[in-house]
C-alpha cells in the first residue's frame, strides 16, 4: 500500500504578502476597530484616562443633530445628482470618442486629464475660476452683459457649483469605463446593426 503523499504548503506567497497585510492590519484595521470601540464610549482625547461605556448614545446624539441631518440629506442629494450626471455625460462622450475616425487617441487623453488631477488642485482651480473679483467665469459673463454671480457664496448656486466641479472631475472616469466596454463590442455587431437599419 502506498502512503498518501503529504500536500506541501507553499509558504512563499504568505511570506511575500505578510508585510503588506501586517501594515494594513496595524495602520487600517486596528485603528478602525479602535474607533468603533470608542464610538460606544465617552472617550475624550484630552482626558483619556476616564473612559466609560455609554452604549449608542453618541450615535443617537449624532442622528438627532439637525446639522448632521442636513449634511446627510445634502450628501445623498449630491451623490444621486453626481452619479446620474456623470454616467450620462460619460456615456455621451464615450459614444462620441468611439465614433471618431481620426484623433481618437489624443481626444481620449484630453478628456481624461481632469480625473488625473488631485481633488485639492481641482478645488483651487475652480475656486479661482468662480471668484467674484478675478474669476474667468464672471469675466466672460460680463462680456455678454450678464451680472456677476456669487457662485460659491450664494445659497442658490453654491451646491450646484460644487456639483459642477465634481462632475467635471469624475466624468472622465465614467467615460473611461463606458468607452472600455464599447471597445469590446465586436465590429460584426455594428455591421449587423447597420444592415438591420440601426443608426442615427
Amino acid at each position: 500500500m502506498r502512503k498518501k503523499a503529504k500536500k506541501k504548503i507553499n509558504v512563499f506567497p504568505y511570506v511575500m504578502t505578510s508585510p503588506t497585510i501586517l501594515l494594513l492590519v496595524f495602520l487600517t484595521v486596528f485603528p478602525l476597530l479602535f474607533n468603533v470601540y470608542f464610538s460606544f464610549t465617552d472617550y475624550y482625547f484630552l482626558s483619556p484616562g476616564n473612559v466609560n461605556l455609554i452604549g449608542i448614545k453618541n450615535y443617537v446624539n449624532t442622528f438627532r443633530d439637525i446639522y448632521f441631518q442636513q449634511a446627510l440629506f445634502n450628501t445623498f442629494k449630491f451623490t444621486v445628482l453626481a452619479v446620474i450626471s456623470e454616467t450620462l455625460f460619460g456615456l455621451v462622450i464615450a459614444l462620441f470618442i468611439n465614433s471618431l475616425k481620426t484623433a481618437r487617441k489624443s481626444m481620449r487623453t484630453i478628456f481624461l486629464l481632469p480625473t488625473l488631477l488631485p481633488p485639492v488642485t481641482v478645488a483651487l482651480i475652480w475656486q479661482i475660476m468662480f471668484s467674484n473679483n478675478y474669476g474667468i467665469i464672471n469675466k466672460m459673463l460680463g462680456y455678454i452683459g450678464i451680472d456677476e454671480v456669487n457662485w460659491l457664496m450664494d445659497v442658490r448656486t453654491a451646491f450646484y457649483s460644487i456639483l459642477v466641479i465634481d462632475i467635471w472631475q469624475y466624468v472622465p472616469f465614467t467615460f473611461l469605463l463606458i468607452y472600455a466596454s464599447l471597445q469590446t463590442v465586436p465590429k460584426t455587431q455594428y455591421e449587423a446593426a447597420t444592415i438591420d437599419g440601426a443608426g442615427f
Partner: protein
C-alpha cells in the same frame, strides 16, 4: 517661527542649550500638543496655542501653572492679552503669556473714501450710510461680509453684535443670542449685505485692496505685511448709532505660549518663555513680522515710524472682546454660524434663526 528663530540665538549661547523650533499648521499643532500632553514626559517644553483653544487646553491641564513656578505678571503686557493667559479667565493664575498680538480691525479703501470725502465711521449706522452711498456705483461694492457658515460668519458678525450691546452669553452663562440687541445687529448685518456682497476671505482682501469694495472687517495679517498695507485700517466702530453707547468690539486673537505640564525642563522653558516675550525680543521679532503684545513695544517711536499699524492694533486690543471662554466653543460656532447663515440667505427669518441658534447653543451647553 521666523520671529522665534530671530531671537533664540542669544538665549542659546547664554544658557548653553539648543532650542529646536517646530513649525506646524494650526490644526496640526493643536492635535500634536493635545496628544503629547498625555505622555508622561512631553516631547515639547513649550507650546503655542491660539486663544480660543485656551479653555479646552487649560481644563485638560496641558500648560504648567506659571504662577506656581514663581512667575509674577508683567504690567507691560497689554492687559487684555495677559488676561487670556489666566485661568480662570482674567483673574486666575497665569498659565501662558501672550506671544503674538492680533485683533480684528476695520479695513477700508482709502481712494473710495478720499473720492467721496468720507471720514472713518464711528458707528455701524455710519458704516451702513457709506455702504449705501457707494454700492452699485461704477460696479462698486459697499461693504463685504464674510458669511460662510461656522467661524467666518460668527467672527464677522460678533463685533457688530457687541457694538449693539449684545453678546452670546450673559454673565451667568445664559444664552442671549436672541436678545433685541442681537436682532437689531443682525438686521444691520443683512442691510450691509444688501448694500454689499458676501465673499470668502481672499476675495474680500482683493476687493477692498483693489478698490472694488469700500469696507470690510478683517485680521491685520490679511492686509498688512511688514511695512506696507494694501488697505487703510482703523479700530472697529464701537457704537450702533452715532449717539449710542460705545462698546468694546475688537475681537482679540492672540497667540499664547506656555510651558507644558509634562516638560522635563520646566525652569529653563519658563526662562525662555519670559525671554522670548520680553520687550527686547519683541522688538527684534517685529523686524521678522512679529506683532508685539507689550505696550512699550507698541508705543516705541522707532517701530511706530516703520510699522504705523501698531497703534491701531494697540488701540483695538485695548478695546477688545474675548470670544466665549468655553471648551465647547467650536460646537457653538458651528451651530450659531449655521443659523446666522440661514438668516442672511433668507431661508429663515431673523427671529426664527436666532431662536433656533439659542436652542442649539443651549443644547450644546447642556450636553
Amino acid at each position: 517661527m521666523d520671529a522665534i528663530n530671530s531671537v533664540k540665538g542669544a538665549f542659546e549661547s547664554e544658557n548653553n542649550c539648543i532650542i529646536e523650533v517646530l513649525g506646524l499648521e494650526a490644526s496640526d499643532l493643536k492635535q500634536k500638543i493635545s496628544l503629547d500632553s498625555q505622555n508622561k514626559v512631553g516631547a515639547y517644553d513649550l507650546a503655542m496655542a491660539d486663544d480660543p483653544w485656551m479653555p479646552e487646553l487649560y481644563e485638560a491641564g496641558l500648560f504648567a501653572n506659571l504662577t506656581e513656578l514663581g512667575y509674577t505678571p508683567d504690567p507691560d503686557f497689554v492687559e487684555e492679552s495677559l488676561a487670556i493667559g489666566m485661568h480662570p479667565y482674567s483673574n486666575g493664575d497665569i498659565y501662558t503669556l501672550p506671544f503674538a498680538g492680533n485683533v480684528q480691525l476695520f479695513f477700508y479703501n482709502q481712494k473710495i473714501f478720499d473720492d467721496n470725502n468720507f471720514s472713518i465711521p464711528d458707528s455701524w449706522e455710519g458704516v451702513l450710510e457709506i455702504a449705501k452711498a457707494v454700492h452699485g456705483k461704477d460696479g462698486k461694492v459697499g461693504y463685504v461680509i464674510r458669511g460662510q457658515q461656522g467661524n467666518p460668519i460668527v467672527s464677522d458678525y460678533l463685533p457688530i453684535l457687541w457694538a449693539y450691546g449684545g453678546n452670546v452669553f450673559d454673565e451667568n452663562w445664559n444664552v442671549i443670542v436672541d436678545s433685541n440687541e442681537a436682532k437689531e445687529a443682525l438686521e444691520l448685518y443683512i442691510e450691509l449685505l444688501e448694500n454689499g456682497a458676501n465673499y470668502e476671505k481672499n476675495d474680500i482682501v482683493a476687493a477692498v485692496s483693489d478698490g472694488k469694495a469700500a469696507m470690510s472687517l478683517g485680521w491685520p495679517s490679511w492686509y498688512i505685511s511688514g511695512e506696507t498695507a494694501t488697505a487703510a485700517y482703523a479700530p472697529i466702530p464701537g457704537k450702533a448709532t452715532d449717539s449710542g453707547k460705545k462698546y468694546a468690539t475688537g475681537m482679540i486673537g492672540n497667540w499664547m505660549m506656555g510651558v507644558t505640564t509634562n516638560s522635563a525642563n520646566k525652569e529653563l522653558a519658563m526662562k525662555f518663555l519670559i525671554y522670548v516675550t520680553s520687550a527686547e525680543a519683541q522688538k527684534t521679532a517685529a523686524e521678522f513680522g512679529g506683532v508685539p503684545t507689550r505696550v512699550s513695544v507698541f508705543t516705541d517711536s522707532e517701530l511706530n515710524k516703520k510699522y504705523p499699524y501698531f497703534t491701531a492694533i494697540l488701540e483695538g486690543t485695548e478695546n477688545s472682546v474675548i470670544r466665549p471662554r468655553t471648551p465647547l466653543r467650536t460646537d457653538i460656532e458651528t451651530a450659531y454660524g449655521a443659523e446666522l447663515s440661514s438668516a442672511i440667505s433668507g431661508t429663515k427669518s431673523i427671529d426664527q434663526a436666532l431662536a433656533d441658534a439659542k436652542a442649539a447653543i443651549e443644547a450644546i451647553m447642556n450636553k
